[in-house]
Structure formats: C-alpha cells, structure tokens
C-alpha cells in the first residue's frame, strides 16, 4: 500500500505517495523530478545525494521516504534565487570546482549547511566537513577554495547589508 507523505521541500508544501521501501532519494528524483540530487553509491559513502532534512545534513539514500513525514527538506534546487545563483554556485563556476558534475549538488548542499552554521570556516574545517562528499575529478582543492571564497563573499555581502541597515 502506498503511503501518503506531507513535507515542505525548499519551502514549498509538497505531498507524495511512496512505498515503504522507497528511499527519500528515489522519491526526490523519480516521483518529484528533483533530479539535482544525484545517486552515487546508494549506501551513504559518497554524499552525492546530500540534502538537509530538518536542519541536519543527511544522505537521502539513507533515509526512507516515509521517514520524511512532516519534515522540512532542502535540496540543491532551493539554492539559487530565481536566475541568481547562490554565492556557492557562482564560486564553484569561478574556481572551476567541478568537472563531470555528479558530485557537485552534494558538495553545494553540504557546503551551504557548513556556512549556515559557521560563516568563517578554516580550510581544515572545510576539508573535514566535506569528507563525506567524494569527487573523483577535481582533487578537491578547487572545491575547497570555492567554498572558502563563497564564505568570504557571503560575509562581505552580509556586512554591507548590515552597514547599509545601520545608516540613518
């Protein structure tokens, strides 16, 4: 029997039907056509399917879709604001932090979860945070530089916004 699940995905109320065996990853991709989230290993090792579930970064391949009942989910599709890329997305382009691109959505979602918690991570903190995201193309260095650059951009933007707000 199909289960009826109610969630919020990227801020929008979203309902779906699923089998109890379905993973959240399968439902995101196959039922909801949110194909930005990628399947790599399907066993929680590679991080390509990373999403944020109730404020925790998780591998959506290791979550059953039925577990998402009444949860809030953020996927890579929620990063850009319309046609304006998120600073992380722009930094990945600027730093050529991707080649084949399969791991990129997972890295973006993981990096956003880091910067939401820690706006000024050290290089070492970035490297440990993304240890659960595998990339077989880039050698990671450009990804790490892109994340640090995006953090810089976001801090500058925030401080400019704050300064502007403080003016009479």
């Amino acid at each position: 029997m199909k289960q009826h699940i109610c969630t919020h995905i990227n801020g929008e109320a979203t309902e779906f039907l699923c089998a109890t065996e379905d993973t959240l990853l399968q439902v995101l991709r196959d039922n909801l056509r949110l194909t930005g989230t990628k399947e790599g290993c399907a066993t929680g090792d590679c991080g390509a399917c990373s999403v944020v579930l109730d404020n925790r970064l998780v591998c959506s391949c290791l979550v059953l879709a039925v577990e998402a009942q009444h949860s809030r989910i953020e996927t890579v599709e929620g990063l850009a604001d319309g046609d304006t890329l998120h600073p992380l997305q722009q930094a990945f382009l600027d730093h050529a932090a991707l080649q084949c691109g399969i791991c990129t959505p997972g890295f973006l979602v993981a990096a956003k979860a880091l910067l939401d918690r820690n706006p000024s991570p050290s290089e070492s903190e970035v490297r440990f945070w993304v240890a659960g995201n595998l990339c077989r193309c880039t050698g990671y260095d450009k990804i790490v530089r892109a994340i640090l650059a995006a953090a810089d951009t976001m801090r500058n933007t925030n401080s400019r916004t704050t300064d502007a707000g403080a003016q009479p």
């Binding site: 929680g44 039925v66 979860a113 659960g132």
Partner: protein, 289 residues
C-alpha cells in the same frame, strides 16, 4: 515491509511483540538502509524509534550521571556541552563515525546493536562503565554495554527487545576518558584498531580506578581488566606505561585482513591504548604527563 513510527515505548513493545520475531527497530538507519540497498532481506515490520521521547533525549540526572537516548544522533551528542565535558572519550568516539551526513542520523544504539567488532563508540561506552536499558515484551532489564555484543553481528537482545537508552554513571573528581582509533587516512574509514581508556586519579596522580576497552582487535569489543590492573595504585610513569602497552598488545585476538595483519593490530592497539591513557590522565587533571 510495514513501516511504523510509534510515539511511546508501550507501542514499540506491542508492535515488536505482534511481529512474532519478524520485526526490526531502526534508529538512524545508516547501517540498516545501506544493507537493504545491497540486497539484504527487508523485515516484515520496521519500527522507527525516532518519535519516542525516551530514545531521543539527553538528560543529566540528579546524581550527575547522564541518560542518552539510544536513537539520539551523533551530531546532537556532539552539540551537548555538558555531556562532551563529562565524557569526552565517549562523545569523541561517536563523532569519529562516518561523515557529517552520517552523524546527522547515526546513533549509539545503532552502533551497539549493529554489533561490529570495530564499532567506534562501543569501546568508549564499555570503558565508561555504561549500562543500557533494554525493553521487551517480557519486561525491562539493565545490561552493561560490555555484555551486549555476543559475536560479530549478534547481540544478547531477544527478537522483541530494543535498547531504550544508555546510562553513564556520575563522574568522580579527577576523572577523564579518551578513545583513539587508527585508520589509514584521516576520515571516513573503519578502525584497524581502537582503544578507550577511562581513569580516575587521586590528588597525587596515582590511578585509583581504570578501565580499558579495545575495538577491532577481537570478535567483540574487549574489556581488558589485566591492563587496568597494571595502572592501579601507580603513577603513569614510563615503566608502568611500558608494561601497560605489552599487556594490551598481548590481550588482542585480531584477524588478519586487508586493513591490518595480526602483528600490526596487536602493536597498534598497545600504542593507541598508551596514548589514550595519557590523554585520559591529562583530562583527569594530571597536566604534567
């Protein structure tokens, strides 16, 4: 597969009793769902424990001890300042498991009941003297964590039993614990060997209580009372640590596999135990060690 997400302990007990041995509980699911994905048989009934308050809370009791719900995720454990300060060895051991993504789901209860010889949190819990509260249709029992794993993949829990929570006893003054493991890279791997040490010192730095537990060097995580005896009544000088290391190495019963030979694991377990003991002693207030 029937999926249920009960909201209290009595419902969990009733569901598991009704499943006639074909039910399984799930906490974070990081081991279970990975096994489903690689073709393991799915149970007739899957009981999600994450909606039961007792399984999802960390609480400091009146006596100073801590109760940790069996399904609390690693990230929530690492975020609990009081627990991390009282039991840094336990919380760091949990934090070593998997990635940030895994930490958002994986639990102490799952790590224990998965019953891997290399489970990182288990030696730390054993050295800490942790007990677990086990509930089933026949009632409730308190079992030392050291007695739960019987063999690789097998626990002492009956088919209708589950772990509700762990209890970490109150801390005596001048106590500290630590857990170290060896993996061939810096993150995301399974221990080749692991060592947990929990110490209490007197005001002069003499060890008055000690527990040592090892991981990945025998079929089940191993409590090593003989190694604790070496330290009892002594300050941790070079001669004591040399004897301690050789007793630890001699207590290991590891396998040879691609991650380490028997000789390598025996040696590394001794080195890790010495380093963990020195960290535990510093945490117990012995700063000159």
């Amino acid at each position: 597969m029937q999926y249920e997400a009960p909201t209290n302990l009595a419902e969990v007990v009733a569901l598991l009793a009704s499943a006639d041995g074909h039910g399984r509980v799930m906490a974070g699911g990081t081991d279970l769902l990975a096994r489903f994905a690689t073709g393991s048989h799915r149970p007739a009934l899957l009981v999600d424990l994450k909606h039961v308050a007792e399984l999802m809370e960390i609480e400091q009791r009146g006596d100073g001890g801590f109760t940790i719900g069996a399904a609390v995720c690693g990230a929530a454990i690492s975020e609990h300042a009081g627990l991390c300060s009282a039991w840094p060895g336990v919380t760091e051991a949990m934090d070593l498991i998997g990635s940030v993504q895994i930490q958002g789901r994986a639990s102490l209860g799952g790590n224990l009941c998965n019953a891997s010889p290399a489970a990182d949190s288990v030696p730390a819990l054993i050295a800490a003297g942790a007990t677990c509260r086990i509930l089933g249709s026949q009632g409730e029992r308190q079992v030392p964590v050291a007695d739960v794993i019987l063999s690789p993949g097998k626990t002492c829990l009956a088919g209708d039993e589950f772990v509700v929570s762990f209890y970490l006893p109150p801390r005596a003054p001048n106590s500290g614990d630590a857990y170290l493991r060896l993996i061939p890279r810096s993150e995301m791997d399974i221990a080749v060997a692991g060592a947990a040490v929990n110490l209490t010192l007197d005001d002069t730095g003499v060890v008055i209580a000690a527990a040592i537990a090892l991981g990945a060097v025998s079929p089940v995580p191993l409590l090593v009372p003989r190694a604790a005896e070496v330290m009892l009544g002594c300050r941790l000088d070079e001669e004591v640590m040399r004897r301690f290391r050789s007793v630890v190495s001699a207590s290991c019963r590891p396998i040879n596999d691609k991650r380490g030979t028997i000789d390598y694991r025996n040696h590394v377990a001794g080195v890790l135990a010495v380093r963990a003991a020195l960290i535990a002693a510093r945490r117990a207030g012995q700063e000159d060690i």
